[in-house]
Symmetry: C2
Subunit: 436 residues, 2 copies
Amino acid sequence: LVAPRTLRGFRDLLPEVARFRELLVQKITTSFVSFGFRPIVTPALEYAEILRGKGSPDHDRQMFEFVDHGGRDVGLRFDLTVPLARFVAEHQSDLAFPFRAYQIGPVWRGERPQRGRFREFVQCDADIVGTESSIADAEIVAMMHATLSSLDIRPFVIRLNDRRILAGVLEVIGATEQSGAVLRALDKTERDGTSAVRGELIELGLGPDAADTLLGCTQMSGGPDDRVLEDLEKVVTDNVRGRAGIDALRTVRDLLDQLGVPSTGVGIDPSIVRGLDYYTGVVFETTYHGAPSVGSICSGGRYDDLTLVYSKTRAPGVGGSIGIDRLVSAVLDVEEIGLPRDPRLVVLGATQEEEIPAVLGLATGLRERGLAVDVHPDLRPAKNHRRYADRRGAAVVGTAVGSTIELHDLHTGSSKRVTLDEAVTAVVDLTKGPAG
Amino acid sequence: LVAPRTLRGFRDLLPEVARFRELLVQKITTSFVSFGFRPIVTPALEYAEILRGKGSPDHDRQMFEFVDHGGRDVGLRFDLTVPLARFVAEHQSDLAFPFRAYQIGPVWRGERPQRGRFREFVQCDADIVGTESSIADAEIVAMMHATLSSLDIRPFVIRLNDRRILAGVLEVIGATEQSGAVLRALDKTERDGTSAVRGELIELGLGPDAADTLLGCTQMSGGPDDRVLEDLEKVVTDNVRGRAGIDALRTVRDLLDQLGVPSTGVGIDPSIVRGLDYYTGVVFETTYHGAPSVGSICSGGRYDDLTLVYSKTRAPGVGGSIGIDRLVSAVLDVEEIGLPRDPRLVVLGATQEEEIPAVLGLATGLRERGLAVDVHPDLRPAKNHRRYADRRGAAVVGTAVGSTIELHDLHTGSSKRVTLDEAVTAVVDLTKGPAG
């Protein structure tokens, strides 16, 4: 015997959770489409050189990488943004820019598994590539707000920052050389705490005052956006990059108002850094207040130089990503998913061989009327079919008994016996009942 | 620069084809659900020992297999049936049997790429596990018939056989020892031709008469099903396995009639073997007459012993799989996919900074009315926005000009100018026009 087991950090989804995730993905797709996005698909496997060095040292370390049959060094994608950049560089002559695209699919990271974090997880990404306009940034954030709202997971808040603000502060305090490592250290503040991060910053060569200035900026969140931006201006003073970041956030905030996004759903938070090296401007994360411990359920930002790795043509982009598996974990944490009865599901069965043709004919008739029909293939007494139908969460179960059908409504618990001729109408009526 | 390229046998889907595939998958899901199936999800990566030796020597050779960060020997799944068997063995106490489940996802095979064949492709599988009843076999075949019909790809024919018939013939001609190799040789008849396969059979140790008897059976297709079965009976005579296979096919044919499947859509074809070792009973393939050269677009069969590899509890199953990528290739071969205008897509743009708030407000209003709106983020003259909207296949394009909106209907070519207050109603009316 080979033990039936899944790899550490990987898992199966049983029907209830799989169905729930499928419904969320359908709603997400509908929302993406309503903002004018269309799907693209890229492969799970890429040349390793396409992926390596594009995320962060952590992403490189966690990448599932191997040599394939043809001796090629290949890797499983760790996100959908790097493959999108490669896609845009490869197909640029076939695309209409600004290019709005969404991509929904699994990514793989060999990180330590923990609650809500898996080694394989599905991301739902949407991006606008080929423009530097803040309107694109605002459209991405507004769309993510509309999408999460359509999933009924309030309250949540999308927390915005701009990479250039901290970069400006680093210039002001004279610590630009270590900026990559400094940003990655700051990204761990929520997890490791301020004092640990302060220690790390000083280890990276920052003076205590510089470290405090930097940490002070990341703690300026919470107040009204205007005051946060004014406080940041006092630190940045006339630094060009820092001011560009502050101006961009102010513009995006205004555009979000014009797009009708409520100010309770978005806020400026200078502690948002993002652990990916490719971001160059606006960045964001989303806290779901129902389950803050699972981390950000929707993140993204602007990456103006990523395609330059693959092509001389610059294609600045901005995008966001919903971590659907983390979101499913979060919602399951908050609400027990009861398996609701499916108002359209009917189970049919027979007790004797001779009744099978009638059962199959009835199944086809009901399917043609738009119902979902599960034919139990084994000959059993009506009570066995009823037990199975109950476990499956069906609305109605019908068992052929001689030339009649014994119908049972699993919502109301009532039963009745009808002739074959009456059966289609009778079942359709039952599924339209109080529960349908 | 890193050259932007995909691995041999892998490919991107651009929006038109990705959208087309997404629509096909939606129709397939709807059909699966109407037959009472629910989704499950299994990981892309499994312990290699779960996968190895379950398909065929070819599948083992083609498997993407490597050692992960934790020193585990892992593989990318080459189909969805083997992971389903592992899933059923692992979760059997949590499932209601007979278990009806569908699974849609990518699989990977490092085979030589050719037309319609890729190293990564999406399969749409549906299975019934936990019953030996022929009703389950018939339900799978009837569902696949209904599903393919819902995709509008007629004419197609599902070709049925039963593994036990050829196994019985092998017993009759005394060649049971090499049965695995013999079946794999027979599976190549369509590709390599009869005389090459005859040579291979003789190399495998079959006498010329035995080889001819076997090849004679596989050539008995084409006539009415009853005659094919009678001809097979003459070869099988009183062999128990062979008769069981013939009886099963006769039963399935009757059940398919009772399920209302037209006899033009299914036929018995003793040449169908299937290249996978786990099949034990009914097997089928589907020829799409529009593009027969892409091979079978929907295949499957009964695998009664597969779960016994992982568990002492027997869970006999039957299932089918639609090769959606092969199907997309086939349909693209037959019909040029023109990019139809999206009757719900509206492109909006502005010519000057001051018009942006009006454009964003209009976008939100139209999205609330159920339209898909792409806001072009760059300030451009109306003719530029129109060109972009045309490339995107939009129905309507609107450009703010001062305090009015210049609307252009891309179907009719007509333009009109409306005030901001009139704009939502005017755009909604245009999208409801002759084209909507």
